[in-house]
Amino acid sequence: MPENRPLLHATAVTKTFPGTVALDGVDFTLHSGEVHALLGENGAGKSTLIKCLTGAYRRDGGEILLDGRPIDPRDTLEAQTLGIGTVYQEVNLLPNLSVAENLCLGHQPTRFGMISSRAMSRSARQTLAQYGLEIDVTRNLDTYSVAVQQVVAIARAVSLSGKVLILDEPTASLDALEVRMLFDVVRALKERGLGIVFISHFLDQVFEISDRITVLRNGKLVGTQAIAEIDRTRLVNLMLGRELEQETRESGRTDRPEGEAMIRFRDFGRGGRIAPFDLDIHAGEVVGVAGLLGSGRTETAETLFGVTPHDSGAASDAGKPLHLGSPRDAIAGGFGFCPEDRKSDGIIGDLSVRENIVLALQARRGWTKPVPAREQAAMADEFIRRLDIRTPDAEKPVGLLSGGNQQKVMLARWLATNPRFLILDEPTRGIDVGAHAEIIRLIEELCARGMALLVISSELDELVAYSHRVIVVRDRHHVAELVGAEITTNNMVAAIAADREAAL
């Protein structure tokens, strides 16, 4: 890492909003040719700092030097021309334009005053080739995966700016292979001398790609350190400002409850979504589901819960047939379901925390039997306390809370119905470290109290930590079941990655 003049040097950056100090005299330096991770819990000030650097916010105080010269970008466009480009988690390109158009938008090559689409395609292909991406650039952007879109966004940002690249949670919706591909691109850019700011909730990834890390907490700088000088526990402590027990489990839990299964699914499947599978659910057991995005994990959950009702097989509850034709049937059977896409399938954004918590219970009781206002308030307050939901009060619209707190509200909604069997689809995705740990602790606690859980997760470490059994899903089939000590990340990766022919 070159220790000469820093590429970007920010000192004492301050930003206040009415009622809060979002950034309080934060220093930040970025050298060219380094990947610098910016870490902190939600609300720590990461995005505020980024927005001050890119001109999305005007800072209230402090100085920013780029290549030694003071800059004061008034908007992101100005920051871009100065050399600071940003790529967000939700790719902010135009999905219905072609890849080439997205890359060249605003500076299309022209020929006699007309846009030359051939020249545009050629330059787009050349640009993407530098990133090891060989795709048909004339197709619309939205025909490609999020990872490809991400790379296109990076390519565009680099070609426009070329000095500093800010990646704001770029890996949040990528699977493991895609993350690898993205990291290859990042390493190549680092070689070319760009300074890269990397924001992520995934600590593994931070340790894999970063050279240095800066931790923020409550708008203040906690510290900046080289990655080699810090370990995981220390980092989490810095971020949370408290000790968190390090998860050290190497293989799955072996204290699997004995006895008869509570709910049995036989030949349970849905044409076009998930092939028929058998599944036994025991009280007090966590069943993990591992697999890549689109492998059939979410489809499994949605079929179990009656969102897309099964068209083959049957479910039985202690020998009695269990009808699961709709979510209402499933709820009546004591099921609960926290979907993967919290925003579109989970929370009711405009309604309050209290209403979101009461909703499933109320729906089950029917409209004629409202939960009395006092009970609602008590219930909301209890869950806010028990799950440590960070909200000023129970009447706050849930859409204004952070992802982790929204997830806790979703859990509270189902816990309020006192379910026997809770299905969690990616319960820890896109939430900050503190909430992440709390949700895992909650999963273990619920299991200990006799609830059965089915948890889908992309984080294999996490599955190892709490699962008694893990179902591996691939190509819309349940391909393997690992029990107890068999549950290791290696075994899961092997099952996920196994050749289909080999498996047969």
Binding site: P18, F305, V307, P327, R328, I331, F337, P339, S344, D345, G346, I347, I348, G349, D350, L351, E355, V358, L359, A360, Q362, A363, R364, R365, G366, W367, T368, K369, P370, V371, R413
Partner: protein, 341 residues
């Protein structure tokens, strides 16, 4: 107590707007607030607003619920015409008052059921689904009245349009009672919350176990029932069912009332009380124009201008700007105070 305060805070902008419009009318027509008793009933321009606003107020009750589910009901004007025609045809056939009312109201509920089935079961977009009945409904009403104004002289039925109880015109009592009843039903039960939930996020609500389909159908049926009540009142008012003109364009006034009442067309949070005040604001504008004595060529322009001002003042941008200035002023004052100290 706190609930009452919350409601007051919710409807404060609407109340202020209504007060402003009424104040404006009082400027151009000084005797506006005079209320006397004539023919055993309250009599005055202010009473006219309450009375003439009855159809739109009733439509606005059902429309509020429909809009809260992120839907819209364009058919209410036509349903008014149908149920008015049914009431007139029934009463002239001599089946008596109670069966007549029952028939008219059931007709409205059936129209709502039709809309609800199209929306909730067939999944047709509400604006398209209700457009069908909006266009066809008036034709159905014309079939019933055979194209003419079907007049009747049944005292009992006429009472609902121009009668009065304790001096208060019946239409006023009816919309007040309907508004109160529906508000109580949705707020004392869990209906209000469930309706808001499906309006904000239908899929998430279904996943939480809400029976959205049944709820949607019920909401459109309520809208149909409200429209039927309005249709009976409109027919009773002129002692005849005018299939061509009864409720014509009132669906738009009802939607406007809901919007002026601050319920978002995107669904979710709703307030029936605010919509009712919205209906009164619209009627106050109408009555004010009539009282002002301007040539009729200006009616629509004046109405549009006033509504525009109301909607602009209620727009999020203007509101935040106003709030910003208020805060600015407050903090400036605070600073001034500290300086003085």
């Amino acid at each position: 107590m706190t609930a009452a305060k919350a409601i007051l805070r919710r409807v404060a902008p609407q109340l202020l707007t209504l007060a402003a419009v009424l104040g404006l009318i009082a400027l151009v027509h000084p005797g506006f607030f005079d209320v006397s008793i004539a023919n055993g009933r309250l009599y005055g321009s202010a009473i006219d607003i309450l009375n003439r606003g009855a159809p739109v107020a009733l439509l606005a009750i059902g429309m509020t619920l429909v809009i809260a589910t992120r839907g819209i009901d364009l058919s209410v004007g036509a349903v008014m015409a149908i149920s008015g025609a049914v009431a007139a045809a029934a009463i002239t056939s001599g089946i008596g008052l109670v069966p007549t009312l029952a028939l008219a109201l059931v007709t409205g509920i059936a129209c709502g059921l039709w809309n609800g089935l199209l929306v909730a079961v067939l999944g047709i977009q509400p604006i398209v689904a209700t457009l069908i009945l909006m266009v066809a409904g008036r034709g159905i009403a014309q079939l019933i009245t055979e194209g003419a104004i079907l007049t009747f002289n049944h005292k009992g039925l006429i009472f609902f349009g121009s009668g009065a109880f304790l001096g208060i015109p019946m239409p006023v009592l009816i919309w007040l009672a309907a508004g109160l009843l529906v508000t109580l039903v949705v707020r004392r039960s869990a209906l209000g919350m469930l309706i808001e939930a499906i309006g904000v996020n239908l899929r998430a609500s279904t996943l939480a176990g809400i029976n959205a389909r049944v709820l949607l159908i019920a909401v459109y049926m309520t809208s149909g029932l409200c429209a039927a009540l309005a249709g009976v009142i409109a027919a009773a008012d002129i002692k005849g069912a005018d299939a061509n003109n009864a409720g014509l364009w009132l669906e738009l006034d009802a939607i406007l009332a809901v919007v002026v009442g601050g319920t978002s067309l995107l669904g979710g949070r709703f307030s029936i009380i605010a919509s009712l005040i919205g209906a009164m604001i619209i009627q106050a504008v109408n009555t004010g124009i009539l009282l002002s004595g301007f040539p009729p060529e200006f009616n629509l322009i004046i109405k549009a201008a006033i509504i525009l001002v109301i909607l602009v003042l209620q727009s999020p941008t203007v509101r935040t700007t106003l709030a910003f200035f208020r805060r600015d002023k407050a903090s400036a004052e605070a600073k001034a105070e500290t300086v003085i100290q």
